[in-house]
Amino acid sequence: MATWAGREDPSAPTELLRLTGVSKSFGPVSVLRGIDLTVHRGEVMVLLGENGAGKSTLIKLIAGIHRLDSGSIQFDGVPVQFHSVAQGEAAGIATIHQELNNVPQLSVAENILLGRLPSRAGFVTPGAIRRRARQALARVGLSDLDVDQPVGRLGVAHQQLIEIAHALDVEAKLLILDEPTAALTAEEISALFAIMVDLRSRGVGMIFISHHLDEVARVGDRVAVLRDGDLIDVVPADTDQARLVRMMVGRDIADQYPRHRQTDGESEVLLDVEHLCQGKRLLDICLRARAGEVVGLAGLVGAGRTELLRAIFGADHYDTGVVQVCGRRLASGRLRQGIREGLGLVPEDRKSQGLVAQASVRENIGYATLASTAHAGFVDRAGQAGRAEAVARRLRVRMRDVDQPVADLSGGNQQKVVFARWALAGSQVLLLDEPTRGVDVGARVEIYEFINDITAAGATVVMASSDLPEVLGMSDRIVVMNSGRIVGEIPADQATSDQVMALAVRDVESPEASGGANPPEVSGETDRAQAPNHGDPIKDGGNR
């Protein structure tokens, strides 16, 4: 897709943000060194870099979350140093952070207006709150969402859209977006880009971080590449991808999806799910995964992929149906039994579901094997440390040492820590929910190689992902979900993204449209139940 031409008023002073010699260290570790960068009004500056390159740290310096060690920041013509997010917002900087930053117990509306609740004489005005929240939601295409429900009940994608709405509510001159697309599906991403185009035409400057190289040329004007805390170069957004990758990681990456397929379809069935039903969320799911296979789960937000993985794993109960792992039947909701039989889950949100932030890398890797390696209740400290170190090295986790708190690692490296846990446990059936969310190109390939390794060794992987190229590139078989049902299955070598999307968006509300799946035979309640209507995709680009 072409980049966007011309800005509104070429004569106006266009410089919005200027960083000069910005440096930052955390304790002994120097994270950013002498960064010089300018962002103009009406420009989208893409920040590229590996996990841990310092992208989030840089934007946190701009937003006033961290203090500069040296260097200076000029915003809108004046030197600034914000001491809080509120100061930054007041000056016109809105930020969408990488990890979700909401208050789960508060309502959607309160989260959108958090920190700037409209009030009269100290009393909040619920009517005004709802009205403004609805306006902000309409811009991200969620006009139907109930603004009074607690945010914690929503899925990650909706929460991400709410964070975007939160940032859009500020009349910002500079909008910073730290991996906003990581949790979104193709349609929501298009909608977000439409919003960005609209903002750009109105002179808003933007800093956009993403690990998806195809997005660079779609929305970016210029690209700044960071590597290991140094600014390598600033280049036009239409620079060829291979060159961007080389600048980021310092070497060539030949194949972005290096799947080694084992084409034999007769190997042992490791995961067998039959007629699984869970309220209105999962309707008569049948799914098999064989040794050596990667099954991709595609679908829109709200299609039930996360619910299915959680139900199989035992994180949630299901109503009826059978789950068998390696030939053994699992009871509903018995997570630890599942883990013993060889299940592992990489959940969709590592911060809230995957990791204990204050605990060390070593401990986080070791939780699933803590009890099984212990002697008489005492932790095998030396052994666990050695093994954790070994898997961390195998997955190339970038860290100081295994005793570093996992919270200090960059996002992609945190994700690898969750993988490392199951690698250590030797899981035979690995359930992955958005496995490379926020993971850089290089690290992503390393995770894919890990998937190749374990499947070659006879394990099976079920991978739910909103990243369509990933599903197409890494799965052997693609199963498409839609409104809680499985609506089709396509061998990956024949699948195209259009084919997958067609199944994913098809209207399956009518009873005969349940596609490949058998009609439910067990439950009288669930087959009458219609899929909920909350997860509908965004219809238009949210332009106004």
């Binding site: 955390f26 304790g27 002994p28 570790v29 590996e50 841990g52 961290h66 203090r67 290991d228 990681v249 310092g250 070497r251 794993f313 994180a315 997570l335 630890r336 883990i339 889950l345 959940p347 809230s352 579901q353 995957g354 990791l355 204990v356 932030a357 204050q358 605990a359 401990e363 939780y367 699933a368 803590l370 009890a371 212990a374 209740g377 005492f378 932790v379 400290r381 190339r396 970038r398 860290m399 100081r400 040492d401 846990r421 290089g442 690290a443 390393e446």
Partner: protein, 330 residues
């Protein structure tokens, strides 16, 4: 990512003694506070504070609060709070005394029954939290009232003399008071459980992120029950020390001690949000509280003012700790 880069990230602050000592001071703020406090008191009391007699006195006084606080540390690390430890201490000692005098069990059995009673009280708290889904504040607040009520029911409101097995906790072995030995043993036990055992490490995980702990396969409910049961057991031991020193179980013993135990844990650097806390920190916290108490007595400050000073110290200690952590991470 090349191995070279991994190596580059690995470079650490120099390991030379100067940085080491500076880091030791930075990581042990409460301990430094305690040392400063002792020095000040030594001079303010005209060299009465640092005598063997007084120090032994301080440790004996600190023993009950420290043992309660060690138990409390488990709960706070697991992101809970135990308001029932004071009542549990009172109840368990009373149960032992009653078993011996009224039910005429042998002294050893009476002691064991008291300790078991502590475990049961704690386990009930744990069950209410893990399965009943009550917030620990509420569950243990209820237990605070229930256990204290039962203590008065059993005793009829009157003190009961303790059996020899309990009185032992207030006696001396050679020159060393038994409460000091109990303090050391329970402190070591707390540190060992927290650092070296599966259950201990699991407490940090549950306190840090209960959902992540569950999805990693940790038996969260069982862990919570164990945490509170341990707290109950430690409370029972503290109860025995209190009763042993008085040679009798008092129905009102250890009233209000739960707050001191919480204060000790928090002064020691634990976070009420869970996931953080150390046995050594808790010991220092308990010692700070006791030393201030002892110092104010040596300086003849009135009991009324002592309460005021105590409150200020608790607030100040935690405040300094908060500042210190902020200063380090930014």
């Amino acid at each position: 990512m090349t191995t070279g880069q991994v190596g580059a990230v690995r470079r650490r602050a120099g390991q030379d003694p100067k940085t080491w000592s500076r880091r030791f001071v930075a990581n042990n703020g409460p301990l430094m506070g305690l040392v400063v406090l002792c020095v000040i008191l030594e001079f303010a009391s005209h060299h009465v504070f640092l005598t063997a007699g007084n120090l032994s006195n301080v440790l004996v006084q600190a023993s009950t609060i420290a043992v309660l606080a060690f138990g409390q540390t488990f709960v706070i690390v697991a992101a809970g709070i135990d308001l029932s430890v004071g009542s549990a201490a009172g109840l368990t000692a009373m149960v032992s005394a009653w078993m011996f005098t009224s039910a005429q069990f042998p002294a050893g059995i009476a002691l064991a029954a008291g300790l078991a009673c502590g475990v049961v009280v704690g386990a009930v708290n744990g069950l209410a939290v893990a399965w009943g889904k009550l917030p620990s504040f509420i569950a243990t607040l209820a237990m605070l009232s229930i256990a204290r009520g039962l203590t008065f029911v059993i005793s009829g409101g009157k003190p009961i003399p303790t059996p020899s097995s309990v009185s032992f906790f207030g006696s001396m072995i050679g020159p060393i008071p038994v409460p000091i030995i109990v303090l050391a043993v329970m402190g070591i036990a707390c540190a060992v459980v927290l650092n070296l055992t599966v259950i201990g490490r699991s407490m940090y995980a549950v306190g840090g992120n209960i959902e992540a702990a569950r999805l990693a396969g940790l038996p969260v409910k069982r862990i919570l029950v164990t945490v509170f049961a341990l707290s109950g057991l430690f409370a029972a031991v503290a109860g025995m020390v209190i009763a042993g020193r008085l040679q009798s179980a008092q129905p009102g013993a250890a009233t209000g001690y739960e707050l001191n135990s919480i204060a000790a844990v928090v002064i020691g650097g634990a976070s009420l949000a869970g996931g953080v806390g150390r046995a050594s920190g808790t010991l220092v916290g308990a010692l700070i509280l006791t030393v201030i108490n002892n110092g104010l007595n040596l300086l003849n400050v009135s009991a009324f003012w002592q309460q005021v000073v105590m409150g200020v110290v608790i607030a100040l200690a935690v405040f300094i700790d908060v500042i210190r952590h902020k200063g380090l991470s930014h």
